[in-house]
Amino acid sequence: MWAPGVGSVEKSVAYSTQYDGNRVDILRVLIAIFSDALYQSPSSYDCCASLWLEVATSVDAPYADILFYSLINVVLGYDPMGWGVPYGNLVAKDTLKNLMETAVHVLVILLDYGYPLRPPAIDEANPTAAHPIYVSPDDTEAQGFNVFRRLLSNIESVDELNFLFKGFSRLLNNVHQAQCTYLPYSITKIDVEQELLVLLWKCLEDIPKFMPYVLRYVYFP
């Protein structure tokens, strides 16, 4: 595991930044091999068409759970403040930012494959044919099954939801902060807010307890 957060009970999992460059290189290859969706036209886009992603998100992908938790922790555990000193980002080279930005790309790509997992309860309430396609979490052989979606939907403890929510609010707030500061360019500005919004959408869609948590937090912080 690369960073503490979701999926690790112990807080002792420390950041290890010394291998960030190597990780970025490997993650880039992953992005490269998943890039075949770029060559489809938007109208003919099929979320299950990529054979590459089918292999990567199948249930027997090695280390899928560690990978998922590492990626999401690196992304949402990232703190754009750094040292908290203005212009500190220009003095120190922030390798973690690089890793975070690559990680969020890979994570969004991996989560985009396949169909959502729906709990059976909703299915019984709406037996009509009009409901969207979904895959049962146990049906690992079905087309569109995505082990990463299943891992995402397994997040349920309050601590983990809190970590997700804090991470999203910190990172999305950064865009606003970096633009409104009195000293231009003094705060590291993350360049991946669109990907973060997609990730937020995926979390709201796939984690059943996340939406109630967020709404409750907004009304009773």
């Binding site: 190597n22 490269a32 091999i33 890039s35 770029l38 280390y63 990978l67």
Partner: protein
């Protein structure tokens, strides 16, 4: 990383790849190509998109050798993680991240589709040059050899991300193992249901780490 001499050398090697078919058995040439240390930025600067397209169009056999060897090396590093080969593996990874997007560009190209997805056997000579005990690996991983290269690539990359010593500290990895084991004793019923699967994963990872420490 990557002095001007290695850049010049690399440019020379690439131009040779573009101008003539190179025999896969010509180990000196390929070794030199894989061992030239270059950063991602250098590789992206030295290989232009047009060069990659030209390679795909005019020298399919070179491309095939390049891709097969790169994947074979990544797989080899995962199987026998000697720290000596880590830099070489990173080189392969950088080169792949340059090549693959262009290879995916034309989905009607049957050659490339076949290269990715046809089941095939990796020639022994490719892995034998990596390490002396490759013969043992061959006999152990026979079923792996017939998988398509794409599957091997994806699996190797996932493994590479968590190779102790390059990407994760060994101690952190050990912490994680302890954590996994502690999760087995989780009292919550929904977690207990999955206990069998976790136990299996745990054992598998410990066995992996065990063999890796032993190898070192």
């Amino acid at each position: 990383m990557g002095g001007s001499s290695s850049k010049a050398q690399f440019t020379h090697l690439i131009s040779r790849l573009l101008s003539a078919d190179v025999d896969p058995a010509e180990h000196d040439f390929w070794d030199e190509l894989w061992k030239t240390p270059l950063s991602t930025e250098d590789i992206f600067a030295l290989i232009s998109p047009d060069a990659v397209r030209k390679l795909i169009k005019e020298r399919p056999s070179n491309l095939q050798t390049l891709f097969t060897q790169a994947v074979a090396q990544l797989y080899q590093v995962v199987e026998t993680p000697y720290p000596v080969y880590f830099d070489q593996a990173l080189n392969c990874a950088r080169l792949l991240s340059r090549l693959v997007p262009f290879m995916l560009e034309d989905s009607s190209n049957e050659d490339i589709r076949g290269l990715f997805w046809n089941k095939q056997v990796i020639p022994k000579s490719l892995t034998a040059e990596e390490s002396g005990d490759a013969a043992e690996e061959e006999t152990q991983g026979e079923y792996q050899e017939t998988e398509p290269l794409a599957v091997i690539l994806v699996n190797s990359l996932f493994h590479l991300l968590f190779l102790p010593g390059t990407y994760v500290c060994a101690c952190i990895f050990a912490c994680f193992l302890i954590l996994l084991v502690s999760r087995l004793h989780d009292r919550r019923p929904e977690h207990r249901l999955r206990r069998g699967r976790r136990q299996h994963a745990c054992l598998q990872i410990s066995a992996d780490v065990g063999t890796r420490c032993w190898v070192r």
